[in-house]
Amino acid sequence: MIQSTLIYRYDALPLCGSVDDDNTPGLMDQKKKCKLLITRITPNSEPQATIESGEFNIHYLIVSSIIYICICERTYPRKLAFSYLTEISNEFRNSHGQEALAATARPFGFSSFDNFLHKTKKIYQDQRAQSNLDKLNTELADVKKVMTKNIEDLLYRGDSLDKMSDLSSSLKSDSLKYRKRAQRINFEAMLRQYIPVVGVSLVFLFIIWYMFLR
């Protein structure tokens, strides 16, 4: 189930939020983490990602400088979550897109959008929405393309949400290079390990040859 939805602007100005969320402490906790999350989002960040956080997943989508976040249970299919986010992002951009980016936008100034959020959420809660997925754009929700991170790493261990695309392409060539280097180091280490033994045994042999075989 989609527990909560938040729409923020890139400069951390809240634009809209769902109002009928359960007030469980767990969810309140997640919302606080979302606020911290938003401060970590930079223009370099991945446009769609899922953050694992305890028994919830936080999915976000960035479209034209507006961040759409939804907090769902861990078992909720990611495809559905992202198609939900896409749908609300389209609707929001069409109805409020210009005003939201203006400098005079007030915090939570678009809370009237909550009606649409509520209705869309209900559609996605209904199990039959699964079958409707065929009509939706599935490329968007492809698991491989969406980056996955852990919230602990992100907030407390200095991980970042930067794009991984450049890293993955160079990974292959880098790994080959490292392999060769590693092998050479291994060899040198082995040499270093055995040279004294070899040296001592050569000297020993020489002494024996000198003493007995002359």
Binding site: L13, G17, V19, R106, P107, G109, S111, H118, K122
Partner: protein
């Protein structure tokens, strides 16, 4: 605003000469003919006096001028407004030589003063030198026993002006810098500098806060800041206000509460968006005392919630048969458009309650609702996870259909139960994650399930000291503990109780009291009476259409040295000075008691009240009200600037507290002893020279109505010693504890208008002269001036209108001229007119001008922009010596007469003395 005087009490005497002034006063009373000659132009008393004093200071360069600005005009300095009064009173001089109604002579409406409070407060600025000690309001003495009948026009005067030194505001001569008394006032407009002096004065120090003065947002015109920049002091967190001072060449500001220097935010000087520089002096928060800040996101814990109304409707047999169910559903249907719904996010839900809970589930977008009945009231649960609380706009058709059919579902019920407790819990479950209002309509005593109440035995304890404890305290702790759970979810509960039997208002009213709601009591309501239906539907409609604020908290700050100690009103006191309001109603006011912790060294101290709230259209705002009050180490100054109406409000709250904690006789004793204390202090400290033989009832002019008000408060329905049904008493006490000052004073001292001899312009729109010299009849209906609440001045052929804030009584005396009856009611026979709760027949202006004017007056009195109360009209026929026997045997009429007469609080009643007797008894108490 017609008929409202706008002058500081204009005294008749110079200070310190009470004896000499007494005689002209007496002359005046006995020789009314002389008044005609006394229409001198208004002498420079009051506000103008302050101005003149300063002018004299400037000229003379020194000592304060004597207050006796030459006018031997110890008589009235009248303005033409009053001519008509004198004229119509003269023919009424009864041969018995009764003292005529001249109480309000000394007040002259200064033409300059009519520009409003600004002139009072702003006039001081810019005249006197900055460092000279500002002469505060002068102390004038009156003798209570000579001022009979008491001058009741005092009750509609504004409080004594706040005299501030020049340059105390950032923007010099700002007229709107200091708070409007309608919003924010103190009991003492000059605060004593140390707590010893405060104790010695025996006057209370308290703030009366009324953040909203109209039910709808558009009626008020509070300036709103232009952006979300809020500048607050770093140490005390006070908001920037018109009384700060700029330091370091205007780059920083000094907080007026704690004296810390703070930075000025860049947005004050420079507008980022348009790239222009701005003038910081243009900002509204430096110019006005009441402003609204738009809150940035740091002030929001969550998205602003939508307006949520859950209606819990009694559908037991009693409610259906008395017509409550039908009336309420029809009223809600008609009010659906008036519910504040600018964002189209408002949500509603309905629960019907008898011994089961009836839920109504809406299917999104489809017509028709499902009725689901849950009989398990031990553990109320919601039968459906969604569809119970729905968006008003999107399901409008289905909601309207439900409301139309609602009464039919229950018309044959025989179920007598009313499970209010379980219904409240179910409602709470439904909206606990959003918050909002639970509005309950009940016609039965809650008798099953949690929170059930039983009838308390009244006969045994009435009249005894333990009456209050036995009948007025909460019988069940469910309501108080439920209030706590409601507060944590931002839920407010309002109750509309209409039972004709006992309904334990005392216990039930605890729930609205601690959740910032209100209890409305309609004793013996029935839909058979058209007037009852009108009253209930108008009040419910106005209540639902209020532009309430949501998720609000109130915090009051003062300068260092002053601490807020107690808080009175309908809210939940969360921590030491934070009051939480799940929703903030617009028709109540709150009282906060203060204590002086350290000696106050500054000449002016400041108070600030801030309400952080979400508006009903989804914006988070902070309404900030600022007040600056001068201080003084002299008792004279404190007494000269005490505000009697605010003091009455404070003592009302204290008396309610005393009644509920100890007993009613003790509460009455408490009020009387407060009067005695004040008189004692005045006699000992303030009367120049202890002239023995002088009357002991001397008091400051601005406090001269205080003994009357506290005395009539002891006669109020909530406190009187007669046998009063405990529901009525509890409802009266509840009202006393939450009414704003104008309504409170009217409830304590009802307004009486004499209609048979009202002036010609009363009842017609005010005539305003336009620029081209023509007179146009536009403007408000002119009301006649009120007269004293005493039958002593009544003619036995007169027509009187009594307004006690909750009802209107039209008293038609027994010997009235038949012509008047014909004009007003259309019939010649006095005893054929409809009496009791009824409305006047409507005649047009041509048919009967008198009827037209009287109805215009009634409409004007009933029209109120900041209260939802709709007053019912009761027509009473007074007794006369030649009335037919069967009339005098009608018990209803006798009961009505007694009820109306009980509103005449200056008179003697069966158990209570009259005001004159009270003053006599005071004489003995004070002389001791």
């Amino acid at each position: 605003m017609s008929g409202r005087r706008r002058a500081y009490p204009q005294p008749q005497y110079a200070a310190g000469q009470p004896a000499a002034m007494a005689s002209p006063q007496m002359n005046q009373f006995q020789q009314p003919q002389q008044q005609q000659q006394q229409y001198d132009p208004p002498a420079a008393y009051g506000i103008d006096q302050a101005q003149q004093q300063f002018q004299q200071m400037n000229i003379g360069g020194g000592g304060a001028a004597a207050p006796g600005i030459q006018s031997p005009n110890s008589g009235a300095a009248q303005v033409n407004q009053f001519q008509y009064q004198q004229q119509y009173q003269q023919p009424q001089q009864s041969p018995a030589g009764q003292t005529p109604q001249l109480g309000y002579d000394p007040y002259g409406a200064q033409p300059q003063a009519s520009t409003g409070y600004g002139s009072a407060y702003g006039s001081v600025g810019g005249q006197a030198g900055g460092s000279a000690a500002i002469p505060l309001n002068q102390l004038y003495t009156t003798d209570l026993s000579r001022e009979l009948p008491p001058p009741i026009s005092d009750l509609s005067l504004p409080p004594p002006p706040l005299v501030l030194p020049a340059n105390s505001t950032v923007i010099p001569n700002s007229e709107t810098a200091n708070a409007n008394p309608d919003y924010f006032r103190t009991t003492l407009n000059v605060v004593p500098t140390n707590s010893g002096l405060l104790k010695k004065s025996k006057l209370p120090l308290a703030l009366i806060v009324k953040p909203y003065n109209a039910l709808k947002i558009d009626v008020e015109n509070i300036p709103v800041t232009c952006d979300t920049t809020i500048s607050r002091c770093r140490r005390c967190r006070g908001y920037i206000n018109p009384f700060i001072t700029f330091a370091e060449n205007g780059r920083r500001w000094r907080c007026n509460f704690c004296n810390l220097l703070n930075d000025i935010p860049a947005a004050f000087e420079y507008d980022e968006i348009s790239g222009t520089s701005k003038n910081k002096y243009d900002r509204v928060e430096l110019n006005h005392s009441v402003v609204e800040f738009i809150a940035p996101k740091e002030y929001m814990a969550r998205a602003p919630q939508p307006v949520v109304y859950t209606f819990i409707i009694d559908v037991s047999v009693h409610a259906v048969q008395s017509g409550l169910t039908g009336t309420i559903t029809r009223t809600i249907l008609e009010s659906l458009d008036r519910i504040p719904n600018q964002n189209k996010t408002a949500k509603v839900a309905f629960i019907g309650v008898d011994s089961n809970l009836h839920y109504f589930r809406f299917n999104e977008g489809l017509d028709g609702t499902e009725l689901m009945i849950v009989s398990d009231i031990e553990e109320p649960f919601l039968p459906s996870p969604s569809g119970l609380l729905v968006n008003l706009d999107e399901n409008r058709q289905a909601i309207e259909k439900l409301l139309l059919d609602f009464p039919t579902y229950f018309e044959d019920t025989a179920n007598q139960g009313f499970a209010l407790g379980p219904a409240l819990k179910a409602g709470h479950k439904m909206i606990s994650n959003i918050g909002g209002k639970l509005v309950c309509f009940g016609a039965t005593l809650p008798n099953i399930g949690e929170g059930k109440l039983s009838v308390r035995d009244e006969v045994g304890v009435s009249g005894k000291a333990k009456e209050a404890k036995a009948l007025l305290t909460a019988a069940d702790s469910f309501y108080k503990s439920f209030a706590v759970t409601c507060n944590s979810c931002q839920i407010t509960v309002d109750l509309f109780l209409t039972s004709s039997a006992y309904q334990d208002v005392a216990t039930l009213s605890n729930l609205p009291r601690f959740t910032a709601g209100q209890t409305h009591f309609y004793p013996a309501w029935t839909s058979a009476k058209f007037e009852d239906v009108t009253k209930l539907s108008k009040e419910v409609g106005d209540h639902l259409s209020q532009d309430i604020a949501l998720e609000a908290v109130l915090r009051v700050r003062g300068s260092t040295g002053v601490r807020m100690t107690s808080f009175y009103g309908n809210f939940f006191n969360r921590s030491s000075d934070l009051c939480s309001f799940p929703t903030f109603p617009r028709d109540q006011s709150y009282c906060i008691e203060m204590s002086i912790e350290e000696n106050l060294t500054k000449p002016v101290i400041y108070f600030q009240a801030a309400v952080l709230h979400s508006t009903c259209f989804g914006e988070r705002r902070i309404r900030v009200m600022n007040l600056a009050v001068p201080t003084s180490p002299r008792l004279n100054d404190v007494y000269a600037s005490a505000d009697q109406l605010a003091i009455t409000n404070y003592y009302t709250h204290k008396a309610i507290e005393k009644a509920l904690s100890s007993s009613l006789p003790e509460a009455r004793e408490y009020l009387i002893s407060r009067v005695v204390d004040v008189l004692n202090v005045y006699k000992k400290e303030l009367v120049a020279g202890n002239v023995s033989g002088a009357s002991p009832l001397q008091i400051s002019t601005n406090l001269r109505m205080l003994p009357l008000l506290l005395f009539t408060l002891t006669k109020h329905l909530g406190f009187r010693a007669d046998r009063v049904p405990s529901d009525h008493r509890a409802a009266a006490l509840n009202n006393l504890g939450s009414l704003p000052i104008p309504e409170l004073i009217k409830s304590i001292y009802p307004s009486v208008y004499s209609l048979h001899n009202m002036p010609d312009e009363a009842g017609l729109p005010e005539v305003i002269t336009t620029e081209d010299g023509q007179e146009q009849a536009v403007g408000d209906i002119v009301l006649p001036d009120p007269i004293n609440d005493s039958k002593a001045s009544w003619e036995n052929y007169g027509l009187y209108l009594i307004d006690n804030g909750a009802e209107l009584f039209l008293w038609v005396s027994g010997n009235v001229v038949p012509g008047l009856v014909q004009d007003l009611f259309g019939t010649d026979n006095l005893y054929a007119i409809p009496t009791g709760k009824t409305e006047l027949p409507e005649f047009s202006f041509e048919e009967s001008e008198f009827n037209f004017r009287v109805r215009a007056i009634l409409n004007k009195i009933r029209d109120n922009k900041d209260s939802i109360v709709w007053k019912n009209l009761y027509v009473v026929v007074g007794g006369s010596s030649n009335e037919p026997i069967e009339i005098s045997q009608q018990r209803d009429l006798m009961a009505l007469r007694m009820w109306a007469s009980s509103c005449l609080v200056e008179d003697k009643s069966a158990t209570e003395p009259s005001y004159r007797d009270f003053l006599t008894s005071l004489k003995t108490k004070v002389s001791q």
